[in-house]
């Protein structure tokens, strides 16, 4: 039986090719890191629970996307059902920083009529010598975009946990304040309590089929 969670949030991770999206996710969900990781072909899925307050868990569904431009016609269909996103760039790759605006526009265009809460992530902060984007500059951009900013390293496990927790907490607060609400036909936020009860009673009646639809 899966651990009990109060909400499920669906998050999407976007950004240029090789900025380290998959590595960040693998570090967060599996605790592993490899220096070299295969490019993502299409869309990969990860999941993890985070404890937002003592005893209050949130289940994160995390969608990892291919960075190459031609895959956008596929990845863009994942925006609509996401409540949050990590917008990732590589601190050692100026270009990936310059493309942030394009990514954000792309997301905004395809998320309608919903909204996505983004966190700006400057990745690979362990590579101090190779840095091409300063913290101040990135913070300025984050402010202009209206999002928080964090610097991470999957290699040295810097702020990996924090980045996801900050975003999750941010969304959680908005849900509590009613700025984001659970809606039928939208997968961004789901409530954990009610459906779980329904599931378990259905399981007892129809083993092997848990489909409530």
């Amino acid at each position: 039986m899966e651990a009990i969670w109060i909400y499920q949030f669906r998050l999407i991770v976007i950004g240029d090719s090789t900025v380290g999206k998959s590595c960040l996710l693998r570090r967060f969900t599996e605790g592993k890191f490899t220096d070299i990781s295969d490019p993502t072909v299409g869309v990969d899925f990860f999941a993890r629970l985070v404890e937002i307050e003592p005893g209050k868990r949130i289940k994160l569904q995390l969608w990892d996307t291919a960075g190459q431009e031609r895959f956008r016609s596929i990845t863009r269909s994942y925006y609509r059902n996401s409540v949050g996103g990590l917008l990732v760039f590589d601190l050692t790759n100026r270009r990936s920083f310059e493309h942030l605006k394009d990514w954000l526009e792309e997301a905004k265009m395809h998320v309608q009529p919903f909204q996505i809460v983004f966190l700006l992530v400057g990745h690979k902060c362990d590579l101090i010598q190779l840095r091409q984007v300063s913290r101040e500059e990135a913070e300025k951009v984050a402010l202009a975009f209206g999002m928080k900013y964090i610097e991470t390293s999957a290699k040295d496990t810097v702020n990996v946990e924090e980045s996801f927790t900050v975003l999750t907490r941010d969304i959680y607060e908005r849900v509590k304040r009613g700025e984001i609400s659970i809606q039928e036909d939208w997968e961004g936020v789901k409530s954990g309590f009610v459906p779980n009860v329904v599931h378990s009673s259905e399981e007892a009646v129809k083993p092997g089929r848990r489909c409530p639809c």
């Binding site: 090789t18 993502t40 999941a47 895959f71 016609s73 596929i74 609509r80 489909c211």
Partner: protein, 407 residues
């Protein structure tokens, strides 16, 4: 009877290590037959196709070097010179190719010395850029390198270059368009094939709204991206090279059907089913699955599936189908449109069913047909014949335009 029920067939497969002696003698006989087919003039390509499809495939990489080019009707007399170095700097895709190849360590045999692997990676970059440069209509995609590396490791650089070029302009052509529209269209074959064999799995997946993106990397890398054992990859490539360009999507369907029980046990939501299916078990009974994919192909050929792939449950009129293509080409979200329409239609159907129960007038879905097992000879001959004229891309074989023939 669904596919899963005949699982015992896999037990006799050579890869399962049962009946070893028997397999040894069959293997010897097969090697003799392949040598015979290669020795005649002109080469007996039909026989080679049968060998590539039937149990065990082409057996060794030495044989593959000889037979793979024949399967693509390639002329191997004039192999190209090493591509010029200036290709690298000038090509628009160079940067992306470089990034992807440099981080594809997983695709090289474990234990290979670093310098040897690095040399092969440079060759891999050269092959890809050579093919792209000579064919400006082709566009690089992440995953293409997963296919090319397999040919490089088996054939070596020069032969791989020629073969990959031919493959890229034929079998892989649809994946290399400027957009992924045709790739998405090929993915649309998946659900109708599944529906024919196991409507329950199909309905469950539809209800979960899982879509077909879990199979995207399977399709465009010919499973090279997701299978970790190189022997399995080359065995599949024997099969795919000998068959119709759409065979990989039939194979994808067979994998889903093979996992029928797991799918039905899974929580009926998009993420759960996507997650389950995208993780391919590494111990699949490949020989069994290959022969099932062949069976499915013969019984539900692309020409028959094309309509359904295109319509994908839209109403049975050419007009609404055309609408779907309009949506697709306008880069809207055909998937969600189709989903909505499917839901609306399901609701309408339920209503109609209630009203006309007595007359049994409910809109019928294509009935699931019992999967007939074909004799291996019959199967390989049929597949070989279908593939003999391999000159076209997958979609030219079963074009979207077929729609006009089926109003």
């Amino acid at each position: 009877m669904y596919l899963k029920k005949s699982k015992s067939v896999g037990a006799s497969s050579p890869l399962n290590g049962i009946g070893k002696q028997d397999w040894d003698s069959r293997r010897k006989r097969k090697m003799g037959e392949i040598a015979q087919a290669l020795s005649v003039t002109p080469v007996d390509v039909a026989a080679l196709r049968r060998m590539a499809i039937s149990e065990g495939g082409l057996l060794t990489d030495e044989i593959r070097c000889q037979v793979w080019p024949k399967l693509l009707n390639m002329n191997t007399d004039n192999l190209p010179e090493k591509p010029a170095a200036d290709l690298r700097e000038n090509h628009k895709d160079y940067h992306q190719v470089l990034l992807d190849v440099r981080r594809s360590l997983r695709r090289f045999p474990p234990g290979m010395p670093d310098d040897q692997r690095e040399g092969l990676q440079e060759e891999l970059i050269d092959i890809i850029l050579h093919v792209l440069d000579r064919n400006p209509q082709l566009h690089y995609y992440q995953g293409y390198h997963d296919i090319v590396v397999t040919f490089l490791l088996v054939l070596g650089e020069r032969l791989a270059t020629v073969l990959v070029e031919k493959l890229s302009t034929h079998h892989l052509r649809d994946f290399m368009d400027p957009t992924m529209d045709n790739t998405k269209h090929i993915l649309n074959y998946l659900m109708p094939i599944i529906e024919r064999v196991n409507p329950e799995v199909h309905d469950f997946m539809q209800q979960a709204e899982v879509g077909t993106i879990f199979a995207l990397s399977w399709l465009i890398t010919w499973f090279g991206h997701v299978l970790s054992d190189f022997r399995h990859v080359v065995r599949l490539y024997d099969f795919f090279l000998a068959c119709h360009p759409l065979m990989p999507i039939y194979f994808a369907a067979v994998i889903v059907l093979h996992r029928e029980e797991e799918v039905l046990e899974c929580e009926c939501d998009m993420a759960s089913v996507h997650h389950l299916l995208s993780q391919i078990p590494q111990d699949l009974p490949y020989e069994t699955l290959i022969s099932r994919a062949g069976d499915l192909f013969v019984q539900f050929p692309p020409s028959e599936m094309a309509r359904e792939a295109a319509q994908q449950h839209s109403q049975q009129t050419a007009a609404s189908t055309f609408k779907d293509f309009e949506l697709a080409s306008a880069q809207q979200k055909p998937d969600s449109v189709l989903r909505r329409r499917r839901r609306e239609r399901a609701a309408a159907q339920a209503q109609a069913q209630a009203q006309t129960q007595a007359q049994d007038m409910a809109v019928a879905r294509p009935r699931a047909r019992r999967l007939v097992r074909l004799a291996v000879m019959g199967l390989t001959v049929a597949l070989g014949a279908a593939a003999l004229a391999v000159v076209n891309t997958a979609l030219e074989w079963a074009p979207k335009l077929d729609l006009h023939l089926f109003p």
